[in-house]
């Protein structure tokens, strides 16, 4: 059960659940006590990011964000919210004499920033991420997943992400296997006649798939 708001400002509530090996979903107008956030794969909302970042900076937790973003941009020294026209934009300091808007540093770092901020903004809730691998280089994915998982664990937030990327799935599995408690599940949805069926991989079955390079998608 989750109440969500997307980057376009739309909100609603639904619930989805696995029933046997089938996926069921239905609108659920009941109120939810947990905050949830939907991150679309194709719409960026830098203003929403700036607002979320400001809330973190207000309680002096901005360095937690910085250390995560350094996975993708080691030169990054600090973040700052600057006005661009009438809109606040998060900028980064790369020690080149002036700050640069985060979106100009690449899709991956903007994407990771949005995900991490959404997690901080959804404590005890759910963050839904569409095409989570988008913009992320495969070589950084394990570290990115470790950062996402650690942030989610601290915030007690569940991440539900979609992907078509084998590298991304493998990275999530490896990152979770390297943690104290394996907390990753892969649910593949497949259409069987008129139903959506679910195949769920746990650590052991994903170990086998990775070891033998079996297709899971």
């Amino acid at each position: 059960m989750y109440r969500y708001s997307d980057d376009m400002g739309h909100s609603g509530s639904s619930r989805a659940f696995i029933f046997g090996d089938a996926l069921k979903a239905e609108y659920a107008p009941l109120p939810s006590s947990s905050a949830s956030t939907l991150l679309s794969s194709h719409v960026r909302m830098p203003v929403a990011d700036a607002k979320r970042y400001s809330k973190l900076e207000e309680v002096n937790r901005q360095d937690e964000i910085l250390s995560t973003l350094k996975i993708l941009e080691p030169r990054l020294r600090r973040l700052a919210v600057l006005m661009s026209g009438n809109a606040p934009i998060i900028n980064g300091d790369l020690n080149i004499g002036r700050l640069i808007p985060l979106p100009m540093m690449g899709e991956g770092i903007s994407r990771l920033l949005s995900i991490i901020l959404a997690i901080y903004d959804s404590p005890h809730g759910v963050v839904l991420v569409d095409e989570i691998e988008k913009g992320l280089h495969y070589s950084t994915m394990v570290e990115v997943w470790k950062a996402i998982a650690e942030t989610a664990r601290r915030s007690e937030t569940q991440i539900i992400a979609t992907t078509h990327s084998w590298e991304c799935i493998k990275a999530a599995h490896e990152a979770s296997a390297a943690s104290d408690a394996y907390s990753f599940r892969l649910h593949r949805l497949e259409r069987v006649k008129d139903e959506i069926r679910v195949a769920t991989y746990n650590q052991e079955t994903l170990d086998t798939a990775v070891e033998m390079s079996h297709e899971v998608r």
Binding site: A199, T205, D207, T208, M212, S213, H214, E215, V216
Partner: protein
């Protein structure tokens, strides 16, 4: 590990313990012109359960109509067969009552215990049986007799030792079982292979 991910691309699946078995069976299937069987390895008898647990959730598994499981008998063919049946039951797949018989429906499941469903041994025993009548196998036997006399030792797996000694005597002396199969070393028309061929044709 292959560079790309492997999909179940055929309606029939034949699984063996390791990479040598995959090469061996693929060569045999090619000889038999059976093109609708995909051969995979499951990583040895201790990993069969893990392999099957993952198999049943793989994409396209619903399209699989038969699974042929092969395994070395090692010390006891009956124990090997019962072990596989136990794994199948735990996974929820049909377990046949006897070797070389397919049971169930989508997928049908059959088990072949190497070398021949009855005897102790392994794939090497089957290959040894197939070439046992070759004249040069007498040389191999004499070689091991000589080793025994001169060095007072014998290999603990005579069939394996003889097959590899025979392979080492070939013009290309470094081929293993699977590569030897691909190179046409094994006489597919030998009666030793009959029950295995029948198993491959049956599902």
């Amino acid at each position: 590990m292959p560079a790309t991910t492997q999909s179940i691309s055929q309606p029939k699946l034949l699984i063996g313990e390791g990479a040598e078995e995959v090469r061996f069976f693929n060569a045999m299937l090619s000889h038999l012109k059976l093109g609708d069987i995909r051969v995979e390895e499951y990583g040895g008898k201790r990993k069969l359960s893990r392999y099957l647990q993952e198999l049943v959730i793989r994409p396209s598994y619903r399209e699989v109509i038969s699974i042929g499981i092969t395994r070395d008998a090692d010390d006891n063919a009956s124990s090997a067969f019962q072990s596989i049946c136990g794994v199948l039951t735990n996974i929820g797949l049909a377990a046949p009552a006897a070797t070389e018989v397919f049971v169930g429906d989508r997928p049908k499941v059959g088990i072949f215990i190497l070398p021949n469903g009855r005897n102790a041994g392994m794939l090497e025993d089957l290959c040894r049986d197939a070439i046992q009548a070759y004249p040069d196998m007498q040389c191999v036997d004499e070689y091991f007799k000589c080793i025994h006399q001169k060095a007072n030792r014998q290999p603990n797996n005579p069939a394996k030792a003889r097959v590899h000694a025979w392979l080492a005597s070939q013009v290309e002396p470094d081929r293993r079982l699977g590569e030897a199969a691909e190179s046409g070393y094994w006489p597919w028309n030998s009666p030793a292979f009959d029950s295995l061929k029948q198993f491959l044709r049956s599902p």
